[in-house]
């Protein structure tokens, strides 16, 4: 009961603020929460939203999937082979420090306006975090555990799979979660700036036609989508790391 109160209060406050903003209104044609919900159900009913979602998810899966498949092994390699780590981390730090959105014109130039462009941008947004976390995870491995395994005659391969990877797992999973939220950011930035497709397109079209309720509905939908994806990943994380709960 208390927990629900704690969780519900910010939501109620947010809705109240929104309602107030629409009542003022803070800008022309500002939709109320209710109007937004109606628009959302219309968009869902017409299939337009689901179609846009499918398109967007395609580039998300492509971009984030590639970031995961490349980032985690790269990070592990960086952690295990010192030299690779020292060199690669400089570039990754740079990629993290730079405003990644600045790379978008370059990406468009290279890949044109396509799902691939979108995926590449998502990849660039998320891969440095995934990689650096895997790298940090390997470096967090307790030398004492390596020593213990070696005392039992562990081969290099067994050391890696039985000590290094499980030691790095918490950081890797945290990196994936961070990477996923960055991937959603990349997705929206990419689609708002370049695509004639996906959720970004839906947002842009409804804005240009002053259908602000539909625009809000799409934005809300996107937020819910990323929220659900992150929550699922968080659940997987607690499941895999249940040994942590003391």
């Amino acid at each position: 009961m208390k927990r629900w109160l704690l969780r519900g209060t910010p939501l109620v406050a947010f809705l109240a603020l929104w309602q107030w903003a629409a009542w003022v209104p803070v800008s022309f044609n500002f939709p109320t929460p209710w109007q937004t919900l109606v628009a959302l159900s219309e968009l869902l009913g017409s299939g337009a939203l689901l179609q846009a979602t499918a398109t967007s998810l395609q580039s998300l899966v492509l971009g984030f999937g590639a970031a995961m498949v490349i980032g985690v092994p790269l990070g592990l390699l960086m952690g295990v082979v010192r030299g690779v780590g020292r060199v690669a981390r400089v570039y990754l730090d740079l990629l993290i420090a730079l405003p990644s959105a600045a790379l978008i014109p370059l990406v468009i130039l290279s890949f044109g306006i396509s799902i691939v462009s979108s995926a590449v941008i998502i990849f660039v947004f998320s891969v440095p975090f995934i990689t650096m976390n895997a790298y940090g995870g390997v470096r967090d491995t307790r030398p004492r555990l390596v020593e213990m395994a070696r005392s039992f005659g562990a081969s290099w391969g067994k050391l890696f799979t039985r000590i290094v990877v499980p030691s790095a797992a918490p950081m890797i999973l945290a990196g994936l979660r961070l990477g996923l939220s960055r991937a959603f950011l990349g997705l929206i930035v990419a689609e708002l700036l370049l695509s004639p497709f996906g959720l970004g397109k839906l947002i842009m079209i409804s804005r240009s036609m002053f259908e602000h309720d539909k625009m809000f509905a799409t934005v809300l939908w996107t937020l819910v989508l990323s929220g659900v994806a992150l929550a699922v990943l968080a659940r997987v994380e607690t499941r895999l790391l249940r040994w942590r709960a003391g």
């Binding site: 213990m148 005392s151 039992f152 005659g153 499980p166 790391l241 040994w243 942590r244 003391g246």
Partner: protein, 254 residues
């Protein structure tokens, strides 16, 4: 299982860069003996145990465990027990106890049976099997560490200050349990400690190492009767006399 084996440490030296850790160490541990190794912090006790286990390569000299000359880690004669337990936090007590066997490629059924048996020997049977280290007290974690060492059925236990980070009451219980295990299993034990009482209470012989660079300063025989865990040896005058003798040796060495 074959019987216990002896350890010959002959002329072993070790240098880390500018730090000379060990100089010309000669120690012969008899088969089935309980040897305690004591000396000031940083004198090379841990390094010496690592040399015996093969984790650290000595610069000079020779170490023979049983009939095998130590050339690297992974020898089947000896198991290590660590001060900080060195348990895998993501593995249950049973999985931890199985770990040595897993690394040596034993089949699952055999691993589980040996781990259960080892956990029972250290008093951790039943419901503790599925607990993670974070759910266990320090004393119980070290029991798991000991079970892991025992599960591979070694002839030698190399213990590096195994009870140093455990509270006094639990430590005494663990010491008694270790003595019981030792007399049941007839293993050779080399136990590093910085506690004079612990060295005298547990061992047949105490080897005193000098401050860095570590050399063998003296050896002190401990002719206390056994089983000490049953005889209330700590309360005896002879125990107090031996602890004091050890103290005099350590004091004069400073």
């Amino acid at each position: 299982m074959t019987g216990p084996v002896g350890i010959a440490i002959e002329g072993v030296s070790k240098r880390f860069g500018a730090v000379q850790a060990l100089v010309d160490i000669d120690i012969h541990v008899k088969a089935g003996e309980f040897l305690a190794l004591i000396g000031p912090s940083g004198c090379g006790k841990t390094t010496l145990l690592k040399c015996v286990s093969g984790l650290v390569a000595a610069d000079g000299g020779r170490i023979v465990v049983g009939s095998r000359t130590v050339t690297g880690p992974g020898g089947r004669e000896a198991s290590l027990v660590f001060q900080d337990f060195a348990l895998l936090p993501w593995a249950t007590a049973r999985e931890n106890a199985e770990f040595g066997l897993l690394l040596r490629g034993a089949p699952a059924a055999e691993r589980t049976a040996a781990a259960r048996q080892a956990l029972a020997k250290v008093g951790l049977a039943g419901s503790f099997e599925d607990a993670y280290p974070s759910q266990l007290s320090g004393g119980m974690q070290q029991r798991v560490g000991l079970a892991r060492a025992l599960a591979v059925n070694p002839q030698v236990l190399l213990m590096d200050e195994p009870f140093a980070s455990i509270d006094e009451q639990t430590r005494r219980i663990l010491q008694d349990d270790l003595l019981r295990l030792w007399s049941d299993e007839r293993k050779t034990v080399v136990l590093v400690t910085h506690s004079m009482e612990e060295a005298i209470y547990l061992s047949d012989r105490v080897v005193v190492l000098s401050p860095r660079p570590g050399r063998v300063h003296r050896a002190l025989d401990v002719p206390l009767p056994r089983p000490r865990e049953a005889l209330d040896v700590r309360a005896s005058a002879e125990f107090a006399r031996l602890v004091d003798e050890l103290w005099q040796i350590l004091k004069k060495m400073q």
